[in-house]
Point group: C3
Chain length 368, copies 3
Amino acid sequence: MKKNLIDIRDFSIAEVDRLISLAKDIIAHGERYASACHGKKLATLFFEPSTRTRLSFESAMMELGGNVIGFSSASSSSASKGESVADTAQVISCFADIIAMRHPKEGAPMVASLNASIPVINAGDGGHNHPTQTLTDLLTISRQKGRLNNMVVGCCGDLKYGRTVHSLVSAMSRYEGVKFVFIAPDELRMPVGLRKELDEAGVPYVETTSLEEVLPELDVLYMTRVQQERFADVEQYNRLKDSYILNTDKLAHAKADMIIMHPLPRVNEISVAVDKDPRACYFQQVLNGKFIRMALILTLLGLAPEVADSDVIGDDVARYEEAVVNAKEHGFHCASGRCITSVEQELPQAFFKTENGYRCIYCDRKPE
Amino acid sequence: MKKNLIDIRDFSIAEVDRLISLAKDIIAHGERYASACHGKKLATLFFEPSTRTRLSFESAMMELGGNVIGFSSASSSSASKGESVADTAQVISCFADIIAMRHPKEGAPMVASLNASIPVINAGDGGHNHPTQTLTDLLTISRQKGRLNNMVVGCCGDLKYGRTVHSLVSAMSRYEGVKFVFIAPDELRMPVGLRKELDEAGVPYVETTSLEEVLPELDVLYMTRVQQERFADVEQYNRLKDSYILNTDKLAHAKADMIIMHPLPRVNEISVAVDKDPRACYFQQVLNGKFIRMALILTLLGLAPEVADSDVIGDDVARYEEAVVNAKEHGFHCASGRCITSVEQELPQAFFKTENGYRCIYCDRKPE
Amino acid sequence: MKKNLIDIRDFSIAEVDRLISLAKDIIAHGERYASACHGKKLATLFFEPSTRTRLSFESAMMELGGNVIGFSSASSSSASKGESVADTAQVISCFADIIAMRHPKEGAPMVASLNASIPVINAGDGGHNHPTQTLTDLLTISRQKGRLNNMVVGCCGDLKYGRTVHSLVSAMSRYEGVKFVFIAPDELRMPVGLRKELDEAGVPYVETTSLEEVLPELDVLYMTRVQQERFADVEQYNRLKDSYILNTDKLAHAKADMIIMHPLPRVNEISVAVDKDPRACYFQQVLNGKFIRMALILTLLGLAPEVADSDVIGDDVARYEEAVVNAKEHGFHCASGRCITSVEQELPQAFFKTENGYRCIYCDRKPE
């Protein structure tokens, strides 16, 4: 059965741990993998530009001995001719062996995965999911701290719109002994849904508006960028963007072995002077991003050394078809303008059942 | 002598058949060709975007073990600095071994072929020629039906502006026992010039406005997209675009072994529900497009196994120079705004003689 | 120590001569180098489009057996998200082994070289430096004339804004017995600074407005394009652009072994009819550009056969830090809107001392 990575929750803890182990083996013995993907092709389908993520995938594939085709923005693709994501996925399946897709609409990579005959990796769908960033972060914490459990993880900055931090919290909350500290202005607090999830899972967290106050407690400090494109109101952005800046003065109060992470690009939320501090790990994150993507590509192509058959990902198609039936039966409709269904009217509405009610299978929002 | 593919009519039936045979051998024994182009480079010069065609060429070259350089739109090229196509062709000849060029102006790839020291493939020049699509279609029919002669070929949709269907009709009319059925609204009928060609060659065809009426007779149904960019009048487009949609209801009346083809991308002229019908061949077409391009690249690079010297393509340069003399003698001038001569004033006017009078060598239009 | 090529003056005559020798060996024995960069990656970071330069680098890397990643314009990169050049350089160091950067702001590649852990090649920074073009020109003269000394070099066209010609004059003036003839309208004379440099170094030159008058004396004629984008005033451009056109009539008066060079793209400053003259070398320049870039990549990656340790480039970082101190002490500030400091406010002002006073380390302009 074909495997995909659309949402980090598609992978069990055991699967994540196996990816991390494989990435570490690649780091230690890169030469053993230098021809692993010889004759294979990765298609990087970037419907919006993201140089770092795209080049990370491309260098990963090349270091495995594979080739790359694709496009780096919608303007240089045929998307303007009105082709559906489903058709694009089927077409690209004729040209490549695996797809990495970034798309401005939520759920687009999932639609691709259901129609492609080759594995699909979500390289970011709007403000929704970006699972390879989360895998990158987990590998970084694992390498730098030697563990993924029993630690205090601080998340600072834009916790409302920052999808990378949502995914990281969701993924880290599955490990034992992890406590979270959420540092954000009131306007950019961690969303209530995610806090509720933590409450229900019994994962401890505290919220604060002061970075300096909590800094001495942290084992990991995950800084995020306050992105202008997430704000409807420019003034609100300008007032808040400088509030949570990390500089060398503040760092004096942090633990000697705390690690500083950031998904990049940064603007000024981490002062350049911090780069020389040995606790700064954000450029190591970039390097780890390449290695975890190598591990992921190998795994999804079925070329990883020890993947047991029992670990194949569940039947996505069956789940999807059930969700389509749910939508029809209940007359559900997704009203989000960010969802792929808002631009592709032929796509069926589809809602899966959760403990908290039905959710759109493309963008995880509640039905109308 | 250097070979190019600018117009499908540059190739004899024997040459087309040899390409199809080579493509079939590649399909059967891909591993034998996996290093055939090792150390060779394809330049994809796309002055306008066409993701599908570009990625088809790129994956073809990579599956032959070769490399790819190029650009995917004029905005990311130096074209804005006013360089002529002729100079670009000479420059690229220093970097690559073969060129695939797409250009919005008719005749541009021909100009490139006359100035490059390496083979040039026309990957689409405006609404003019797109010979690798035609080769793709021929390979598909040959593989699916087991023959290219003795069949009824229906063409449906935009027969006025659809260059793929013009080329296919032109190519198929050379085989014995082929009958055409043209299905289009009055506004989008097959051009009179092409109908006249068929009349003169004694190739039978009928015209109709009703898809349902003729469906039971067809061995091949070639659907085409009604493209908005071909219409000056948006209202006319909106009125017509849904007229010729293929759905599962209509298909019930078709032969069990009819094949459904489409050059893609489709918008809604073929209902998504048709995709699951075993007669739907449009995604196989995509795959065949890659294989025929592999065969073409090998052949033009002189790497195909059995290409006799007697099959080299005629002396294009001599024909061109004669056409330049014709234009001077008669004071001919091409008035088409779609022709490459409309933007490159230094290019000589050039007209070749046909049974129906003189034609512009770049865009095939009559002189003024 | 890591090597870079930011300014042609970074290389000694001995180093330039060694690159030229290596390029000639590559031309003679290409097969020996076909796998020299196997497993290595070049990143082409083109913040503004330049198809010729980019494809020259890419084909060079591929002919060495290496791979290429990158982007071809700022719009398909993350630059719009406000990332600094310094951060981009650190990120790309995780993905590639060597960088070729083109940027509209002067000094940007130098900033990259100071922050990247891998070698950086300046592929053009605004109107400032373009050292690989100069190396291309030197290789061409060396191959065509058999020497780089004892000759009369004519430079014609836009000598005010033409950076390629400034670099070439600067580089050629280091060889013995070279005399320059500068042919330009009064509005586009060679800048006073460069003329002063020649005066001080005792290098002979003459200035004239008439191409025809001096043509018989020249061993090399370097034509340049009058580029519209360098003019604030369109009318001035239109009045001047056709003034210095080379055609076959004028060429009748030139030496039989004179060579005609041009950095391309040309518009109409060299008539197409000149292309067939054996003295026309501008397309050979393109080919030489690929070969010298192969030599440069090999050398900067430490893969060239005979590079003595004594030739490593001086301590750029120390020079940079000294320049930062200079700026602070004197309160120097660069006021040029073309300088990278005009868009990246966090970059420190930095000025190095020359015989003619202090100069901005990024763009070579005087402080305010």
